[in-house]
């Protein structure tokens, strides 16, 4: 059996680990390059579990998140990213400016 990637109780989401991406740019590219069927399948798998997931994640202080919980957290960020595709647009990205042209910087906090 392969090593558990997500916290106990969330292993059923492991088929969606391809959405567990650390950077905003990776998540943008994933959204842009995935067909709606895949985006929707991910959405439908995660949304019903979100209450449980967020409650689970809330137990960790921001600076001390174990790797498996971090992976789970990245899934929620991908959900935030693709939710508009499912709930608003019915296609991976809306018509308009290509988001890959954007330079996204978190200007601060550069220190805490």
């Amino acid at each position: 059996m392969s090593k558990r990637q997500l916290p106990e109780g969330f292993q059923d989401l492991e088929p969606y680990l391809e959405w567990s991406l650390a950077t905003d740019r990776e998540r943008s590219i994933k959204r842009q390059t995935s067909p709606m069927t895949k985006i929707t399948a991910f959405y439908q798998a995660v949304v019903p579990r979100m209450d449980e997931i967020l409650a689970y994640l809330e137990q960790y202080p921001l600076e001390q998140v174990p790797a498996d919980a971090q992976r789970l957290f990245y899934l929620t960020l991908s959900l935030a990213k693709i939710a508009p595709a499912v709930e608003m647009y019915g296609e991976p990205v809306p018509e308009g400016l290509d988001t890959l042209r954007l330079e996204n910087i978190d200007i601060y906090p550069t220190r805490s």
Partner: protein
């Protein structure tokens, strides 16, 4: 000038500001290089411009550099040992190299990469390598050239005019005053920014943020329904008000909007930057929901020339447009929000950012280059503005006043 009599609502705002007229507006300001050069000399090199926030440079020695092509300079903004914010042209007194090459950092001294002339955080010239090789140079007379700088509610403004005609506060006037006391510092403990160079005149960008008439249409799939309601289908605003060169806009919400499942989740764990229904302006200054409307979503300070600052219950959205030429703009879109306390709160903010990117960067941003290319076609000489587009008209009027001053 006569008002349209086609039974439209046109005229409500015009009645308040009849001096702005109702006629069409020429396209030339959006496509002319000559016009752009006038904007540069009469406006951008004369007025206070927002370049950032104090949170970017919390400690003495923290600095950032702002390249201001439109002012033909690059400016260092630094917190000095005196705790104050200082600004200097980023130009070495020796032979003109920019003293700082990186975009931001922390240092005790600025050392020019070229020949290592060294300057203090106060701009004074401290050290010249092999000084005896120079001809009795007086170091006191060769510090960095200062740029006027001041702060308002934590926002840092510079003015490259060596002798600004007005203080920042005088320039901000009553418009600025009416936003003083909004919890800017509390809201701005976090910041995300998106920057992009677009092939469009800077006013094409700004115009998209000084009217909300387009929301029902351009944003029909995203935020349209959250703002526009059956009783206000075209999102006529609560207020448009003019204050000298600046303006204020206050935007309704659709109280009947039912959040989508993920939006509802995100709201449960934190306010969203562009809060829609359920916003409260309690305890906020007079410019925030100035009409005290229960169906309020956000209010904006449209700062002349190039900043649109929107404040809501949950956070701040700001757009700054930096002209690069008559048909090129560096657009900075920012969301300021309180630093997240939990992972769930981070998720909530991520949703807020995602919808901001889709609904604003992509959808509004998608119009800029398309519009510009047709404005430049020469097919038409003017555009038409409705009553709800008063602030666009106002911008052109203010520009004329600057040109004639």
């Amino acid at each position: 000038m006569t008002l349209q009599t086609n039974g439209a609502t046109g005229g409500k705002w015009h009645a308040r500001y009849p001096e702005l007229g109702t006629g069409p507006v020429p396209i030339e300001p959006y496509i002319s290089l000559e016009y752009f050069e006038k904007e540069r000399e009469h406006i951008f090199r004369k007025v206070w411009l927002n370049v950032g926030r104090v949170e970017q440079i919390p400690e003495p020695g923290d600095y950032f550099v702002k390249d201001l092509a439109v002012c033909r300079t690059s400016v260092i903004i630094v917190r000095g040992h005196d705790g104050q914010v200082h600004a200097f042209h980023n130009m070495c007194s020796h032979r003109g190299n920019p003293v700082v090459w990186n975009a931001k950092g922390t240092c005790k001294m600025f050392t020019c990469r070229y020949h290592s002339w060294t300057y203090g955080l106060d701009g004074t010239l401290r050290h010249i390598p092999d000084e005896k090789n120079f001809y009795g140079i007086k170091k006191d007379a060769h510090g960095l050239t200062p740029v006027a700088v001041d702060t308002w509610e934590g926002f840092i403004f510079i003015n490259v005019d060596p002798r600004p005609k007005e203080t920042l506060r005088e320039y901000l006037g009553a418009a600025g005053e009416s936003f003083e006391g909004y919890p800017f510092a509390e809201m701005a403990t976090g910041c995300s920014t998106w920057e992009v160079d677009v092939n469009a005149n800077w006013k094409v960008c700004k115009d998209a943020f000084q009217e909300v008439y387009h929301i029902f249409s351009l944003h029909n799939k995203s935020t349209g329904a959250a703002f526009a309601s059956t009783s206000n289908p075209y999102l006529n605003v609560h207020e448009l008000a003019l204050f000298g060169p600046h303006a204020r806009i206050s935007v309704p919400a659709n109280l009947d909007w039912k959040p989508t499942p993920v939006e509802a989740l995100a709201r449960r764990y934190g306010m969203l930057a562009l809060q829609k229904q359920g916003s409260s302006s309690q305890g906020m200054p007079s410019g925030v929901n100035p009409t005290a409307s229960p169906d309020w979503s956000f209010s904006g300070l449209i700062y002349f020339p190039n900043m649109c600052l929107f404040v809501a219950d949950g956070g701040i959205i700001m757009h700054t447009m930096w002209p690069l030429s008559e048909n090129r703009t560096h657009w900075e879109a920012r969301t300021y929000f309180p630093k997240a306390k939990t992972l769930a709160h981070r998720f909530s903010q991520e949703y807020s950012r995602a919808t901001f990117v889709d609904g604003v960067l992509v959808e509004d941003g998608g119009t800029f280059e398309k519009t510009q290319s047709m404005l430049a076609s020469g097919a038409k000489k003017q555009v038409i503005l409705g009553d709800e587009e008063l602030l666009i008209r106002h911008h052109h009027k203010v520009t004329e006043q600057f040109f004639n001053a």
